[in-house]
Amino acid sequence: MASELDGLPVIATRREEAEGFLQGLVSKSLGWARKYSLFTYPFVTACCGMEYMTMASARYDSDRFGAAMPRFSPRQADLLMVVGTVNCKQAPILRRVYEQMADPKWVMAFGVCASSGGFYDNYATVQGIDRIIPVDVYVPGCPPRPEQVLDGIMLLQKKIQNQSHKLIDRKPLPVIAGGAGR
């Protein structure tokens, strides 16, 4: 991941340099803080939910990665885990949940059904949630073993660390056309 710092102009005033340096420090420390306090929203629909249970409980213990706190309100969560198959009836609800989450937010496609539709290639199933919402990490497997999910969490943490974070982020929210968000 190229950070925003790479794109800075070579010739800069001392003030800009100082600001950029400060911004880099802020971004790094915010990234560090954010990657270890992922509040997850488990959007559990299907089989993978059983492995989600295992992953969250004592033996595999996603708490070690700071991602153990399931928040059952999307407004309090920053990691949306889409666990299981999403079909055409479920899709608008997933979209609505995603839109209710506050920035910064990340999405993990847990299992092959969420990633690509899996072997349910038929009239009812959405062929991957990335047709509806953006996805950061795909975890394959039907269902994935808990180790795979932990690996996915670690990949996401790496991604979060390398992103640019700002103290105040006033970027306008992206407006996605159509859909059911209200």
């Binding site: 488990p42 959007f43 559990v44 629909t45 299907a46 089989c47 939910g49 059983m50 492995e51 249970m53 295992t54 409980s57 004592a58 033996r59 399931p70 059952f72 299981g84 198959t85 079909n87 009836k89 479920q90 609800i93 997933l94 949940v97 059904c113 072997f119 349910y120 290639d121 038929n122 009239y123 009812a124 199933t125 039907c142 269902p143 073993r145």
Partner: protein
């Protein structure tokens, strides 16, 4: 409350008990009457609230729209289909052997029972008999998965009523069993173990001893769970006399399995129409008396005990032998034959590309899965693919009856009721 004065037809200035104050609230629920100006009558209000589908208590896939009068459920509508993924349509487009992975994902907590149920349906249609050892292996794995299913149910039910410990214990015990199943069939959750005419693999060496050891540990954990819940005041208060179903209602609504037996009807397919080797095994069918949530919970605990007994008996009775029929019209030939002989290659090719030829006809086969009767209505046109594969999901009638079960009860009683019927989205919504 036709003469409306103020909010909800109640005049806030009227003295309690007088005509303007509306109906007296039920005793014990609100502040006692007669406290003059300090007393604020709390009129119960009609409201329609939405639960789910993305709600932890609705298991992610059921949308319930509840009309409340205060806290009392007056009317409830269920909207399902949020996990409909075209099971039947998909199965009609693959060969008979390829259906097994789809059946895994019906009741994903106890997938081997679905495998076995489907294999038995096809074997019934093809009039195929399975080797003895395969029958025992099917019963052993099914009963282990029954324990997994009930552990998950009890854990999830207790968790949603506030007892997180039970959930962690249950998951630990379930993981131990899944490890053993992973050694046997290679997957933790979606096992894909049964085949038409037998099972996929024999037990690895030392598996029996390891499994028995794990079962002892599971028994210990189950006893601990029992100690935590059986006399737990909070748990009993929330479960006893909630979600009650009488025996007649349960029959009319089509309940099967533990929910039917909790209401007092001693019907179990394993006893009524024994399949595999259940007629040679000594086990009891627990029957409840009240038909409430607590009975359904106790039913699960007792069934785990009986399943444990069944597995141990099977290990004792089992003899070495074939695990799949040696008929290459149905079972894949062993690899040396495939690589070494032309007959083996041809049989393998035909089975994989065209599928097993099942004689034309239709059959309804039923087995006792963890939640009740798992039925498959199979229609074959003589080809390599199912013409119709109808699934009778065990949890279906129980979910359909949820509005009946919760009518007139408190909203909070919906949670234990919904848990104790064990709705599994994969099988109900197919």
């Amino acid at each position: 409350m036709s003469e409306a004065k103020g909010v909800g037809g109640i005049d806030p200035r009227a003295t309690p008990g007088s005509a303007g104050a509306g109906e007296r609230p039920p005793v014990g629920t609100l502040a006692p009457a007669g406290e003059g100006e300090l007393y604020a009558p709390m009129p119960s209000k009609h409201m329609v609230i939405n639960l789910g589908p993305s709600h932890p208590a609705m298991h992610g896939v059921t949308r319930a729209v509840v009309e409340l009068n205060g806290e009392i459920i007056e009317e409830m509508k269920l909207d399902i289909g949020f996990l409909h993924r075209g099971f039947e349509k998909s199965c009609e487009n693959v060969t008979w052997g390829q259906v097994f992975p789809y059946t895994d994902r019906l009741n994903y907590v106890s997938s081997i029972m679905n495998n076995v149920g489907f294999a038995l349906a096809v074997e019934k249609l093809a009039k195929l008999d399975v080797p003895e050892r395969a029958k025992y292996l099917r019963v052993i794995t099914s009963e282990i998965h029954r324990i997994c299913d009930h552990l998950t149910l009890v854990g999830a039910m207790a968790m949603e009523l506030g007892a997180m410990t039970v959930f962690l214990y249950g998951i630990e015990a379930r993981d131990l069993l899944w490890d053993r199943l992973a050694e046997l069939c290679g997957a933790r959750l979606t096992s894909n173990y049964a085949r038409i005419g037998g099972v996929a693999r024999d037990m690895p060496e030392g598996w029996q001893e390891k499994t028995l050891k794990v079962m002892d540990r599971v028994v210990a954990i189950r006893e601990e769970i029992g100690q935590l819940l059986n006399r737990n005041r909070i748990f009993i208060d929330r479960c006893r006399n909630t979600g009650k179903v009488s025996r007649e209602d349960a029959l009319e609504l089509g309940f099967t399995g533990p929910c039917l037996r909790a209401s007092g009807e001693p019907y179990d397919v394993r006893k009524a129409a024994p399949y595999l080797v259940y007629d040679r095994l000594d086990f009891d069918i627990p029957v409840g008396s009240n038909g409430d949530n607590f009975d359904r919970y106790l039913m699960r605990m007792e069934e785990m005990r009986q399943s444990d007994k069944i597995v141990r008996q099977c290990f004792e009775q089992m003899a070495p032998g074939e695990i799949i029929v040696q008929d290459f019209r149905y079972a894949l030939p062993p690899k040396p034959l495939v690589y070494g002989t032309i007959e083996g290659v041809m049989a393998h090719f035909k089975l994989v590309m065209e599928g097993i030829k099942i004689p034309a006809g239709e059959v309804y086969s039923y087995t006792e899965a963890a939640n009740g009767e798992l039925g498959f209505y199979v229609v074959s046109d003589g080809g390599g693919r199912p013409y119709k594969l109808g699934l009778r999901a065990p949890g279906w009638p129980m979910l359909a009856a949820l509005p009946v079960m919760t009518k007139g009860s408190l909203l909070s009683d919906l949670i234990p009721t919904f848990d104790s019927i064990n709705m599994i989205g994969g099988e109900v919504e197919q």
